[in-house]
């Protein structure tokens, strides 16, 4: 029966080509606009670490005070003193201090130009905390952190490039003039957005290819390439003065497996800040935050307002296209009042009229979906003209988006067809037979 209605639907489409074409184009545009914007929105609002997003927490301690903080919120990063104190206290299951640095891989081969992969200086817990997968070897241990060792974990792509994919654990590489021993090679790992450090790169920069111990980076006086926020820039001169300054530049994360752990840790942070107030480092009451991944992404506004706004407006656009389609379908169906009357008089039930016209609506939706898919393809392809390249490359027309586009088109058309179908089914048999 459905096949028959589908055929009827197709035949009807051909009967009033202009009206049909208008509807198909309307649905196609509505679906394509919203799906293109959705592809961007989906990419930027992705949960980068779903298995652990409720167990990892960004730690904030207000070292700026009520006069200099941001509307009561502590700075995004910790100062070096607080970060080291928290690291030493080791009150969470795992904790990591980290910051982005610049290191260049320098080849012995003089014909090769140096390259600079994205690099983070981290404390050793980071690997287990962030579920970083390893191809060879692994992260370093507490001993290497304590000894400020020159060890490095490199990314898979870098390993392919430097060692043609071979197990390079134990080999040395020259990073900005210093040798480091490779202890681990990561498997492909590129969480987007890069949740643990949104402040320095917005969350969508190149995949990280190098990790070195933060203690080593501090020894080398490597400055952060992320943000440095100082209430008082006049902290004296030299690296040690900088470390002792109240400048916020260290990113700090804690892994707390359940709510009780999180509550306990929050209390610990509060007590720590209270102690700092007591010894006179802070002249204000404790003001600490513990935000899990979802809360952190939200707090840091990782979804660009442009992406959000254009997604919502494209949904409004789709809604208008639907209203338009309802009107056009109404016109199309009611033009065939005579035909409906005949069918009803020949014994067709309301239900069959429903089935036939909904099917016709779905057919239009499918046609609109196919055209919409093409337009979505064009849209996704041209996202790079409009959004940041880093974000645009994440927007892809994958299988799920193709399916969603077709589904939305058909559902939208069905939704639009309900009222016109109902009206068509109301056509009384005898009236039309006069």
């Amino acid at each position: 029966m459905f096949a028959y209605y589908f055929e009827l639907g197709l035949r009807s489409l051909r009967r009033s080509p202009v009206l049909t074409g208008l509807m198909i184009i309307t649905i196609a545009f509505g679906v394509a606009a919203s799906m293109t914007m959705y592809s961007v929105f989906r990419a930027v609002s992705n949960n980068p670490i779903p298995q652990k997003s409720s167990q990892l927490y960004a730690v904030q301690i207000d070292n700026f005070g009520p006069r200099n903080n941001q509307h009561g919120e502590p700075p995004d990063e910790l100062d070096y003193i607080d970060a080291m104190a928290l690291l030493k206290a080791h009150k969470a299951l795992r904790q990591a201090a980290l910051y982005p640095v610049k290191l260049s891989v320098i080849s012995d081969d003089a014909s090769q130009l140096p390259i600079r992969p994205a690099t983070y200086a981290v404390s050793n817990n980071a690997f287990a905390m962030f579920d970083i997968p390893f191809l060879y070897g692994g992260g370093w241990g507490a001993a290497e952190d304590d000894n400020r060792a020159s060890v490095v974990v490199i990314g898979r792509a870098l390993n392919d490039r430097l060692f043609h994919g071979a197990n390079s654990v134990g080999r040395e590489i020259n990073l900005s003039g210093h040798n480091y021993r490779i202890v681990g090679v990561m498997d492909s790992w590129d969480p987007k957005p890069l949740f643990f450090d949104l402040a320095s790169n917005g969350g969508f920069a190149d995949a990280i290819e190098l990790f070195i111990p933060m203690s080593r980076a501090v020894d080398l006086q490597l400055i952060t390439t992320g943000s440095t926020d100082c209430v008082d820039e006049n902290y004296g001169t030299g690296w040690d003065a900088f470390l002792r300054s109240g400048c916020s530049w260290v990113v700090y994360w804690a892994e707390l497996p359940n709510k009780a752990d999180a509550d306990a840790y929050r209390q610990y942070l509060h007590d720590y800040a209270a102690e700092q107030q007591r010894v006179g480092r802070y002249a204000w009451a404790p003001n600490v935050r513990l935000r899990d991944v979802a809360q952190w992404l939200d707090y840091e506004h990782v979804v660009p307002p442009e992406s959000k706004l254009s997604f919502y407006l494209s949904l409004g656009f789709l809604a208008i296209c639907l209203v338009n389609t309802v009107g056009l379908l109404l016109a199309k169906f009611m033009r065939r009042a005579a035909e409906i009357g005949v069918r009803r008089a020949l014994g067709a039930s309301r239900r069959t009229v429903y089935a036939q016209f909904l099917m016709e609506g779905a057919t239009i939706g499918l046609a609109g979906g196919v055209l919409g898919l093409l337009l979505t393809g064009v849209g996704v392809w041209s996202v790079g003209l409009i959004f940041d390249a880093q974000i645009a490359r994440l927007a892809t027309l994958d299988v799920s988006l193709v399916a969603l586009t077709l589904l939305v088109a058909v559902l939208a058309a069905l939704l639009a067809a309900f009222y016109p179908t109902w009206r068509a089914a109301q056509v009384a048999a005898e009236v039309q037979l006069r």
Binding site: Q221, L309, F317
Partner: protein, 416 residues
């Protein structure tokens, strides 16, 4: 004439409630989105047409960082680079700076005019520049003088001594020293305890970012006579007219040939490598331009679709009423009457839709203000939107209405 038509039109519309409602709703929704979108477009275009205060043509920026050299070792390397670049054919002059207009990020600090002030008078951009930067950029000095070569100090970012001299923008000068000349006066930058003397005032220089967070400070810029040895400096190259492309093509290889141990990135903003200033501008305003494009496209397609919807439904009504039209024509109505009838009908529907749309548009505007950093929708945009949609409705009705007016009185005799 028009007034006389309203009553029968309203009576007829009651018989087409659904279609009337749909067109009205569509006009209302379209108005709500279109006038807000137009406002967004206008805001973005205003944002991206701000001036930088420099001569943007024939200007090349080349970000270059040393892989291993640090501290005192950096200065001679930079000087060698400057020399190398100046010798390139087509190059007029070269300066080095951490920070330039629209670069994408940089250094901000508070400034005060007294050493013990608790709160800064203003937050400003700090460009750490050599004595060539001002002229290379083509920024206009309206008072005082440029830096001298012997005033430039090399230092890393953790050993920032207050500079003896500063050049600041007019906007900043007027902010810190209102109603008096700032030239020769002291300025304390970044919590410094020692004063710096304002030796020059620039007419205008835009800050290092086009992002909306920095809009409030985008006219506040300080040039400091420093070479930062541990930050991402850029060589600013003024080429001879028309030589930009030629210099850009060889800049990278020339620098690598002079010294291999460097990184010339190929990203944007902080990670910018060889970029003409046109590219710098394009990247800085990508979001603004992108939003303007999206909103324009949505507006255009929306108006087309709404027009198409009106054409579709009106055509249907015309075909439904051929007999009635024929009767009216037979009873003496002119073609003009029929045309006027359909145009009036559309006008009434559009008017109702537009009135609803005004409420929706204001609601949408309030929602945008609450969730995005925008201002309330100004009245002119609402009026433009209203006029646009009323005209669109009339234009879209014209073709079917003309067809209706050509219905012959003979139709009256035909069966439905």
């Amino acid at each position: 004439m028009l007034v006389l038509q309203i009553k029968p039109v309203l009576a007829a519309l009651k018989r087409h409630k659904a279609g009337t409602l749909l067109i009205g709703l569509q006009i209302a929704l379209t108005l709500a989105i279109v006038c807000n979108a137009l406002f967004i477009i206008q805001q973005r275009l205003t944002h991206l047409s701000r001036t930088t205060g420099i001569v943007e043509s024939d200007l090349l920026t080349v970000g270059s960082e040393w892989t291993s050299a640090s501290g005192a070792a950096v200065e001679p390397l930079v000087h060698a680079d400057l020399q190398t670049l100046r010798e390139l054919p087509g190059v007029q002059d070269v300066g080095v700076s951490y920070g330039y207009p629209l670069r994408g990020g940089g250094w901000n600090s508070g400034v005060t005019i007294k050493p013990d002030a608790k709160q800064p008078v203003a937050v400003t951009w700090r460009f750490f520049a050599d004595d060539h930067v001002l002229t290379v950029l083509g920024a206009k000095l309206i008072a005082g003088r440029n830096f001298r070569a012997d005033e430039i100090r090399a230092m890393d970012s953790h050993n920032l001594a207050a500079p003896a001299q500063l050049i600041i923008t007019k906007a900043l000068a007027e902010k810190v020293y209102p109603n008096q000349s700032a030239l020769g006066k002291p300025l304390y930058i970044g919590g410094a305890t020692a004063p710096s003397t304002i030796i020059g005032i620039m007419d205008h220089l835009q800050g290092g970012s086009a992002s909306s967070w920095s809009d409030a400070i985008s006219d506040y810029v300080v040039l400091e006579p420093k070479l930062l040895t541990d930050k991402s400096n850029a060589y600013l190259i003024r080429t001879r007219p028309g030589q930009l492309g030629a210099v850009a093509n060889v800049a990278r290889d020339t620098l690598f040939k002079a010294n291999r141990l460097r990184i010339i990135p190929n990203g944007e903003g902080e990670g910018g490598g060889v970029r003409s200033f046109a590219q710098v501008r394009e990247q800085a305003y990508k979001n603004d331009r992108g939003m303007a494009i999206i909103m324009s496209a949505i507006c255009a397609v929306l108006l087309i679709i709404t027009a198409a919807g009106i054409v579709g439904l009106t055509s249907f009504w015309v075909s439904q009423r051929r007999r009635q039209i024929g009767v009216r024509r037979a009873l003496g109505a002119t073609r003009h009457d029929i045309l006027g009838y359909f145009l009036t009908e559309n006008f009434l529907i559009s008017l109702a839709g537009v009135l609803t749309g005004i409420v929706l548009a204001l609601g949408l505007s309030l929602w945008l203000v609450a969730h995005f950093e925008t201002r309330r929708l100004p009245l002119p945009f609402l009026l433009i939107g209203v006029a646009l949609l009323l005209l669109l409705g009339q234009a879209a009705t014209l073709a079917p209405a003309l067809r209706a007016s050509r219905v012959s009185p003979v139709e009256a005799t035909r069966a439905a």
